[in-house]
């Protein structure tokens, strides 16, 4: 049985294993978003709690376990960031299940890792202004108009930068 299946059956050892494998990534993302160790550790606890509670509903084939945990982490961390900044809107968790057809993201960790590495290389190679706009959107959960305000740039310019950045990163997925 795979790790999440064991988790769903209430196996605490599986929970420990899941934590050992993924806590470092989850904490890194939470720290990057929140820039506060205490808050980030609270998010790590929330992520593994949510994974534990909802493992019974996890659908194999919807992507990697790490991707699942990181998506929970980003949503939780940005919600917390917004609450801290009195920005009430919550982040929409992307609905993986909304996609028809085959799996959303590669379930195979090796293929996924290769694709993630491509995204990472692509991100580093982006022009600075595109990368900044995208990072504000992804890691700080800012809306496009909030990014425009933050960077004192026209909204249309920000939209173009983010669209161009994402198009480039999507292209980088294809060998």
């Amino acid at each position: 049985m795979h790790l999440v299946g064991r988790l769903a059956s209430g196996d605490m050892d599986a929970a420990g294993e899941l934590y050992d494998r993924h806590a470092g990534k989850v904490l890194a993302l939470a720290r990057r978003i929140l820039r506060d160790d205490g808050d980030a550790e609270d998010v790590v606890q929330e992520v593994f709690s949510q994974a534990w509670r909802t493992a019974t509903r996890y659908e194999a084939g919807r992507g990697t376990v790490a991707g699942w945990l990181l998506m929970i982490a980003r949503t939780r961390a940005i919600d917390r960031l917004r609450a801290r900044q009195s920005r009430p809107d919550t982040t929409g968790e992307v609905l993986l299940e909304a996609m028809p057809g085959t799996t959303m993201a590669p379930s195979d960790q090796a293929i996924a890792n290769e694709q993630y590495a491509r995204v990472r290389q692509g991100l580093v190679a982006l022009p600075a202004e595109q990368r900044t706009a995208l990072e504000l959107a992804y890691f700080e959960g800012l809306s496009q108009s909030e990014i425009a305000e933050r960077l004192a740039a026209p909204l249309g310019t920000i939209k173009t930068r983010i669209r161009t950045a994402l198009t480039t990163l999507r292209r980088s997925l294809r060998p």
């Binding site: 806590a23 790590v44 709690s49 993201a105």
Partner: protein, 276 residues
Amino acid sequence: MTMDRHETIGAMLDEYALGQLSQDERRTVETHVRECDTCAADLRELVVVMEGLAHSLDPVTPPPALKQRVMSSLASQPQEPARTVVEPNAVAIPPKGVKIRRGVHPGWLAAAAVVILGLGVALYSVDATRRLLIDDVQEAQAAVADLQRRLDLNAEQADLAVSILTATDMQPVAMSGKENATGSTARAYWSPTRGLLIVANDLPMPPPGRIYQVWVIGGGTPFSAGLLGEQGVGRGMLIAPPPRGVAPGAVTVAVTDEPPGGLPAPSGSIRLAGSL
């Protein structure tokens, strides 16, 4: 799906993947993506990019105490039951002899019953593709749970609506508008053993100081079925057991305007009427 809409939604996919859309906008995107392979493929790539961004950070070593804290918090938390799909027969058919209190406006309960039945059927029919609809299912389950709670409080009235609609002797009565209500539409369902359910739409406001009363006319004598409850502007509904004394056989259902509280026999103008 028009090309305009496809392009509009396509332009929203980046923001969707980044979690920058409002809930309404998200729903719009999700609805479109389920039907549009091109956008679904685009979104799949975007989600891989998003995961790649999350993975672009180097992992850090968590403080050792954190694992202890996480593990002990898990031990005290129950796991959620696996997802289930609501069966279509969520509303029980009531036993015979259920009575309804007069004067209560139970229309919304009928609406609730219809919604529950509809949700049940909808959920059942999407079973094969439910993976695509998990979010909707969760919402629907919450809605059903909410409605079920309310129904528990007023089960008799909701049950009556269902028992009328499912009675073997139920016959629909075609209703048409009269006088100033010719633009109105209404549907009535009459079961001599269970009662009457009538839903009217686009009704004009009753004259000042008047209300709408519903009559079942059998053998030439009208019997009050009750008052038409308001269900919002121009909309009225009544669910009632069969009035006592209605002669067996063909009936006419009529709606008249009457003074508040209604009268034992009609005095006002007929606004809606239909016969079996």
